[in-house]
Symmetry: D2
Subunit: 276 residues, 4 copies
């Protein structure tokens, strides 16, 4: 029997949390989903995440939370992250950063899933080399030996760097999926080596927005080049966005992948392979 | 009767040209498509476009070609662009640049279509303010008065800037579509004001690649930080990628929009509203 | 008799204001200085400028204040700038921005001095094309016709862009001087066409710092990639830094230029041509 | 007796090589200079360095050559660098890059000098964390224990990052000097902990140029945004630019530092402490 992974993109503010609350428990009840990872870097009013929201996401069925450049926007995260082994921050942060960037987690059905979170460097504040960092994590816990499956959340801006990470890891992970741009890409596919890939998983949030934020201030800033107010999340109709992978337990590789989009502004999508 | 616009994303090298050659004439024969715009900035081996390729694209059924940051990679384009009114370069180039950045074109069925090409400034070499430039072009030729329909190809890197342009123009254009990242986004939608929007149309080319380029050199450059060779387009199975809009001739606004994806690596998509 | 211009670099916080207060009145009493321009973009605790500080700078002998990317960090500046014709913000802000980016000012000795403030685009948030904007201002008020002298404060990050502006304007202005990097460059010279140039005038402030800011937080941010606190100006020994130009009243061109550095950490410098 | 170090900034093309040839042998004959480091990343027509030029620089009296982002523009450097222990490339290149980024060298007078070459990440293509890399090199070979003196060539764009490296290393090195902007800064000083510092050493080359390059093409590119030709070094009057440090052999720390500028466009400077 195949193993079904689900990855959900950046949860942005209240609409993003509602998207997860509205849909994830229902999906888990209805379909054979074995492991859920969710990027939570914008869950707390768009900037970082707090302990209460972590608890909520876990309650709704998330197994592991990943983060990104907004990892520590809520400064309390520097402290409580040490108590939450299932909360990862990018492994590319400098040595000594609180928390961990990768972990081996046990699914309820017993499989070991390696999850790695890393950040890109193109058009972003430079951290450690994600190619080297991810290689090191995969070498320490190779898929097919220590881990049954491996998922990489690569948080990056440039499509070239994200696709290069995908190509570089093809055959060594179940899924390499991008986050950070808050827009799902329609290029999900199983690469030649057997790794599922999508340049960006999109966000969970209100898409009648500018990357999840209320449209007024971003537009006026582009026009005037002078801030008038703060950025705050758009709070209209919530959409869930992510990617599902059907994986082969013998190899850890992907057999199929498909987008998951529910509610709100985007074209709805449910993986055909969930309907057994 | 509705007016059907088709926009095709960045044509990358030989695979991109084959994608257009293989599919566009057939689509035009089979479906009621009234006007076709195609971004050609990477058509000549990945870098710019030459006169022969322009002629080919027009022969295959493209009405207007748009460009981007690679507009003048083939230096001959600085000369022949003056002879091709249907070849646009970004309107955000400095005053005095050969060619034009917008034009009013007559569809075979008689409607006047305004096409505007502009470039973003986030994470790109800065040119003129695209918000001001596009406003000026739309003011000079307002949809519903001089133009029956208006299409904007916004060539940009950052999803925030692309969505801000969309929000800013909502209600004043038929379609605002992004190009340049070479990955189609799954966020096509008709915005509240009636303008169809997609953050990026994706590329026409080989998706088993890094943004259309053969994977070897980009990956090795990320790894070693030292160039070993040139970038050249991947030449595997070609995929066509774009967006179709069904527009209301009375207002110029969008009634529906949908992705067009044919051949190759991506999930195929044909607009449901094409099948009358 | 020659006309002596003095330009002072970015005033950073209290130490920067003290540098001006300590030295400028004395310099004006002692030497034949006819016109003083000062960049004030960091005068209010490092971020922007307020009305009271403008008044102080004028009291100490500044004729015109220029700004930069921090122009409107103090939001009140959007309002009071309209009442202060001698307070300029970069001319490269979008149309509609409060205040002006250039002005013709009358020295106490009767000469008309054109002052232009503009911002670069390399490694900075993109605004209007500074080459085109400065050309337009100089064309509207050419040196030798309407203006007796012309000074350009070019606020930019990249040395290449700053030197390109210098080369482009050589022969059309008395002085082109860079600001923004907060470090004086030792390349002051009169270019072949007769325009004085310095890539950066440096800052007025405490140089035992990181670009004028207390060293602790900037260093820890580079190390940890996580903010621990705010940036605040270093408040040690103040240094004044700027450039003086001796100009020919017949042509407006520079006869000589030399650095002015007083107090604090840097090697002291007084223009030899001031001692008549 | 004090130990005198000399550091020369980026050698740009023929004018840069002439600056060294014209002045360095003479300086070494005339003054008590004990060790010379020179950044050679632009020595070969502006782009990289070749074996012949390395030999020339060593012949003229350079003890160690450092590089920067242009390290491997001449691809042969990837090969011959392994045969030249006195040729360093930035230590921040990824593991596996040919050559070394630091070395302990013996001066003719017997002292051991640690030289470290590293690159910044702000506004540059991101490599390894220079703070961590330099710390590691200094820890492996601490000044006052293994090394008698330590020099750091920090090749970076942003003044903030360069000054932060300086502040971070204060007390642990003889000299921290910036390179890459091709403009000497006038902020040379001995920091409170005893390390000499200068944000940028400037270039050896023709200053009637744009960062060493002929002015025509850079200016026209800023104006038109379309390349018309290649960048090539300006070949006018050569200027030597660098920094001299007088160091205490007991501690390795700096007693004094001063700019060295000879020939060409800049104000000449010879360290007062050289004239015993
Ligand atoms: Fe995010
Ligand atoms: Fe992010
Ligand atoms: Fe493209
Ligand atoms: Fe492009
Ligand atoms: Fe400043
Ligand atoms: Fe600034
Ligand atoms: Fe250089
Ligand atoms: Fe460099």
């Amino acid at each position: 029997m195949s193993f079904n992974l689900l990855f959900l993109g950046d949860v942005v503010g209240k609409a993003g949390r509602e998207a997860v609350a509205n849909h994830l428990p229902d999906l888990l009840a209805r379909y054979p989903i074995h492991f859920v990872v969710c990027n939570g870097e914008n869950a707390a009013h768009g900037f970082g995440i707090n302990e209460g929201i972590c608890e909520q996401l876990f309650d709704w069925g998330v197994d592991v939370i990943t983060l990104g450049n907004h990892a520590f926007d809520q400064r309390e995260t520097l402290v409580y992250i040490e108590r939450y082994p299932n909360l990862l921050r990018p492994a590319t942060f400098p040595a000594g950063t609180p928390g961990r960037g990768a972990g081996l987690f046990r699914a309820k059905t017993g499989e070991n899933v390696l999850v790695i979170n890393a950040m890109g460097r193109l058009f972003m504040d430079a951290m450690e080399d994600p190619f080297a960092v991810i290689d090191r994590e995969l070498d320490a816990c190779p898929m097919g030996e220590v881990a049954d499956f491996a998922m990489v959340d690569f948080h990056g801006e440039a499509t070239s760097e994200k696709q290069a990470i995908g190509a570089h890891l093809d055959g060594r992970a179940t899924l390499v999926v991008g986050t950070h741009t808050h827009v799902p890409t329609a290029d999900h596919r199983v690469m030649p080596g057997g790794t599922a890939f999508q340049t960006d998983a999109g966000m969970c949030g209100d898409y009648d927005s500018i990357i999840g934020m209320d449209k007024v201030e971003p537009v006026q800033r582009f026009l005037s080049k002078v801030p008038q107010g703060r950025f705050s999340p758009a709070e209209g109709e919530p959409t869930l966005s992510g990617i599902a992978v059907q994986a082969d337990p013998k190899t850890g590789l992907a057999q199929a992948c498909a987008p998951v989009r529910l509610g709100g502004q985007l074209e709805p999508a449910i993986p055909p392979f969930w309907n057994v």
